[in-house]
């Protein structure tokens, strides 16, 4: 029943999930089991690259959930991603211990450099992996909760909401650039050594991180499917299409928007936490407003309001970016801009819109309560029984 609801009615999604699952099996084999001399061998660099893409896909998924289904265009999703990343980064910094340049067992290098005597209070607890993981979820979630509560209660919608989310991520970027904040300022957090006791640069660790990212993406996808196929999901679609009407149906629109916004920010935070150990650094540049805009382009390219479109978009655009930036870095931004224009003009439904959506619109609108599933006592309601 649940499988049917989550997957069978969602052909595109099932295909994308199957491809990701396949990737999760094949990539570790090609990297670890195939000897480096073989042409089939996949370098650790590629594994890390794919792991990064998986994190991006998770981030894009979080954007599609609120933008595609609830119509909330957040241009600050990168902020939640970065906060999750910083929480993970702080844990990784604590794992360095006395192995830093200055060999101080108590303080991270950048604090020694700034002549700090003590660990700031908000760094306490990050020695523990469990606590850090809690913060990965709580920090973005809490920020989204407070920010969303204020914004949605004041009925800030549409482009105004987009603008203040840009301001949010920009403000955070400026704050994190400051050394006094205690997050490494300009340089951010880097030079990581271990994660839960395993050397971070080892092939096996890389594979483990890659697998974790993939599994997180699969689980997040199923969670999002569960949300959009529930009654909650239909209400959220109604809010997207006619907010005021939904309110007159008796729904407290603000609460719905707030909870889906918080959930999406938590997903973004998790994506950030998985991203940081793979790239080995987190700095305030991740908060850059441009990043948040770029990831909206991924979703638009893939096709919004489908969930799997976001994954497709994140992979295609980032693969394109990797190609472009290695062959002719100057042209990448032009290509990105052109892509956005082309998608907006020619492919309003994105890439997945191309793949013959022959059936009716797939975005979670198929009737779930088909008569065949209802257990009708055919008494006064023979009408229903006739229909079967």
């Amino acid at each position: 029943m649940l499988t049917k609801r989550l997957l069978l009615n969602d052909r595109g999604g099932a295909i994308v999930l199957a491809l990701i699952a396949l990737m999760l099996v094949v990539v570790p084999i090609l990297n670890l089991a195939v000897p480096a001399s073989s042409p089939l061998h996949l370098s650790t660099f590629t594994v890390t690259l794919l792991g990064k893409f998986l994190c991006y896909a998770l981030l894009a998924l979080s954007v599609d959930l609120i933008w595609g289904y609830c119509g909330i265009l957040s241009l600050g999703q990168g902020a939640f991603f970065s906060l999750g990343g910083y929480a993970m980064g702080m844990y990784l910094m604590r794992q360095i211990g006395a192995r830093g340049q200055y060999g101080n067992p108590e303080l991270p290098d950048f604090m020694v450099f700034l002549n700090w005597e003590h660990l700031p209070w908000y760094w306490h607890g990050f020695d523990s992996f469990g606590f850090a993981m809690l913060m990965v979820v709580l920090t973005p979630g809490l920020l989204a909760f407070v920010f969303g509560w204020l914004a949605f209660r004041s009925r800030v919608t549409g482009v105004y909401f987009s603008i203040i989310t840009q301001a949010l991520t920009y403000a955070l970027m400026l704050a994190f650039f400051r050394n006094e904040m205690g997050f490494g300022g300009n340089n951010g957090l880097t030079d990581f050594k271990d994660i839960v006791g395993f050397p971070i640069a080892a092939d096996a660790t890389r594979i483990a991180l890659f697998l974790s990212s993939g599994i997180a993406l699969l689980l997040a996808y199923l969670a999002c499917r569960y949300i959009v196929t529930s009654r909650f999901g239909r209400i959220v679609i109604s809010i997207r299409d006619a907010e005021s009407r939904t309110r007159f149906c008796g729904y407290k629109v603000e609460s719905y928007k707030l909870w889906i916004f918080v959930f999406s920010s938590v997903l973004a935070g998790i994506a950030g936490a998985l991203y940081v150990p793979q790239v080995g650094i987190i700095n305030p540049g991740e908060f850059s407003p441009l990043n948040s805009i770029e990831l909206v382009v991924w979703v638009a390219t893939g096709g919004r309001g489908t969930l799997y479109g976001a994954i497709v978009g994140a992979f295609t655009v980032n693969y394109g970016k990797t190609l472009f930036t290695s062959y002719s870095p100057e042209t990448w931004l032009f290509a990105l801009g052109a892509l956005f224009v082309v998608v907006t003009l020619v492919l309003p439904k994105g890439l997945v819109g191309l793949l013959g959506r022959s059936k009716k619109s797939e975005s979670a609108h198929e009737p779930l309560e088909s008569p065949a599933e209802e257990k009708v006592e055919a008494t006064a309601h023979t009408v229903l029984a006739e229909e079967k």
Binding site: W149, R231, F232, C249, S255, S361
Partner: protein, 284 residues
């Protein structure tokens, strides 16, 4: 039947705003926490309402009483304040002066839109505002009177009883065969009926219907008149309409609004022969 009557827990609804249900997980207040007192026959008391927009008085000391189960038509020239009156009753606009009571005890001015909607006052807008991306069935499902808290809608499906109710309403509004059709592909008249059906799903005590037959074909108009007449008695129905022929076909009591207040009230014949009405409205 009466969702207000079985109010077990007398939760005082003090906070019409947000913090009340912040958790999103709690039991949602889907009624006003007190039984509806209609012992004086009236269900809606609108008294001395004044609304000004930048100095323009859209409503000027408006008084209106609606009886339980009655079908009331409200007419009036453009700018008479018909839509503003509906806005006030449904909580969209807060008046500068006056009071609006639902029954004798529930002060609607203290409540927010969604609380009023849940409590039993449904509104049909002029333009059909259904959810075009959803099917007919899903539109009704959305409008079902049920727990509308976030957690509930995420985890619980509708009960069998609620599904039966949807089927009943589908029959009532004549869209049973189109239940799995996308609402966006319905004809104009069908959309209007669907919207009335969505109001019915909330088992409202009062239905506010704004220009239901605008843009309808003759046949559709007739069907709409039948539908509205069948609803009176079970619900109090307030219809705002321009189409005089239609009003004549359904009206028992007509209220004429003019410049934000009530000009006169009576049967259609009384109203049409009233010299004041002829002057401001029919005589034009």
């Amino acid at each position: 039947m009466n969702i207000l009557a079985h109010a077990k827990q007398a939760l005082p609804v003090k906070d019409p705003d947000f913090s009340n249900e912040l958790s999103g997980f709690g039991k949602d207040v889907d009624n006003f926490g007190a039984p509806l007192d209609t012992s004086k026959r009236n269900i809606l008391y609108v008294e001395g309402i004044t609304v000004s927009f930048d100095g323009f008085r859209a409503l000027n000391n408006l008084n209106l009483y609606i009886e339980e189960g009655e079908l009331r038509c409200i007419i009036g020239p453009n700018g008479a304040g018909k839509t503003t009156m509906m806005d006030v009753i449904t909580g969209k606009t807060k008046p500068d002066e006056g009071s609006v009571y639902f029954g004798r005890q529930i002060n609607l001015l203290e409540l927010s839109e969604h609380q009023i909607a849940r409590g039993g006052i449904g509104r049909k807008f002029q333009k059909p505002t259904i959810f075009e991306a959803l099917t007919v069935y899903e539109n009704l499902e959305l409008a079902t009177a049920s727990n509308k808290a976030v957690w509930w809608t995420l985890t619980k499906a509708l009960t069998g009883e609620q599904k039966f109710r949807i089927d009943d309403v589908l029959v009532q509004i004549g869209l049973k065969e189109l239940r799995y059709k996308n609402a966006g592909s319905l004809s104009h008249g069908q959309k209007q009926w669907l919207e009335i059906g969505m109001l019915l799903m909330q088992s409202p005590r009062v239905l506010l219907v704004d220009e239901p037959v605008a843009g309808m074909t003759g046949e559709e108009t007739e069907k709409t008149a039948e539908l509205l007449l069948s609803l009176a008695g079970k619900h109090s129905v307030i219809v705002v309409e321009h189409d005089m022929k239609f009003v004549r076909s359904i009206a028992r009591k007509v209220t004429v609004l003019h410049q934000g207040s009530v000009l006169t009230e009576g049967t259609m014949d009384q109203v049409q022969n009233d010299p004041k009405v002829i002057e401001v409205y029919l005589g034009e």
